[in-house]
Symmetry: C2
Subunit: 162 residues, 2 copies
Amino acid sequence: MIMGRRWGEGRPGGRWHGELRGCGYRVTMPRQVILQVLDEAKKHLSAEDIFIKVHQIYPAIGLTTVYRTLELLVRMGLVHKFDFGDGRARYELCDGNNEMAHHHHLICTDCGRVIDYDDFTEEETELIKKTEKELAKKYDFTVRNHTIQFYGLCKKCNALKK
Amino acid sequence: MIMGRRWGEGRPGGRWHGELRGCGYRVTMPRQVILQVLDEAKKHLSAEDIFIKVHQIYPAIGLTTVYRTLELLVRMGLVHKFDFGDGRARYELCDGNNEMAHHHHLICTDCGRVIDYDDFTEEETELIKKTEKELAKKYDFTVRNHTIQFYGLCKKCNALKK
DNA sequence: TGTGTTGCTGGGAATAATTATCAATAATAA
DNA sequence: TTATTATTGATAATTATTCCCAGCAACACA
Ligand SMILES: [Mn+2]
Ligand SMILES: [Mn+2]
Ligand SMILES: [Zn+2]
Ligand SMILES: [Zn+2]
């Protein structure tokens, strides 16, 4: 007797089968490929970036579906949506078991460069956890995630100012 | 002999005379009124909110000028620009000597409610300062300010889920 | 206190990201 | 396999923000 294997298991985008079904959503090709693209991405992508990458794997994809799916994944808490101030949203898979660890951002207000930053000190991680707990208690607010962004001037723009 | 008083001094929007002139900018009515409105605001306003309020004081104002001025003030570091994920930017006067102290945000991903949060512990404030210093050194990045936002479910939406 | 320079403004048009519509399609339960 | 209905994709619509440019006004310098 062969052990049953759930559909999509082992396939790049099929890893999230359980997550989707668990929330009562259907496991469709667009959803799988979008998740696969997000998973393989090493940096924050815009909706259009994602559309282009998905299109190479699954040409039938529509831009609307990309937006719709991203919104869904954000609601599900699987994806982070960021705004770096350039008029388009960026998306990153939340740190699960995968590549991209949770990180914060340094954003240059001059040239728009974004630096990912994830080598937190023990102290930092600890304090954030503690703060979240306190906020939860004080405001009766269930914290699901957070964004921390530092704005200023990057190395290059700093030099240019002098 | 009467002590000279700089133009606009004492007037609500004239408080920033020095800031503007110091950067080589002209002190115009739109700029003064926009700053006055931001100063009197108790909460984060959208560009349109600001336009409407300014319009009551200075009806000749144009929406374009509001956007232009806000961009200028953000570049000058006098104003904070936020994105709460509803498609429109929000603006708050940076904590100077004035009303609104520096604060962070709790954002409900369900209903969009935004809670201002500014009763930091000594520990929190300290760590942020320390982190900024470390980042400055490590990435050669001049930190000018930061945003910290916690996403999750507010009290009301939490109750509704059950 | 005039006057010239030029930074600043306002209205309207243009742009571009995101959403809404809706008939066709395909995932899932029976 | 078949029925149900969530999901999709093309297109149109929306909407925040930016561009453009002729007229205006702040202010440096008389
Ligand atoms: Mn990132
Ligand atoms: Mn606020
Ligand atoms: Zn830069
Ligand atoms: Zn809520």
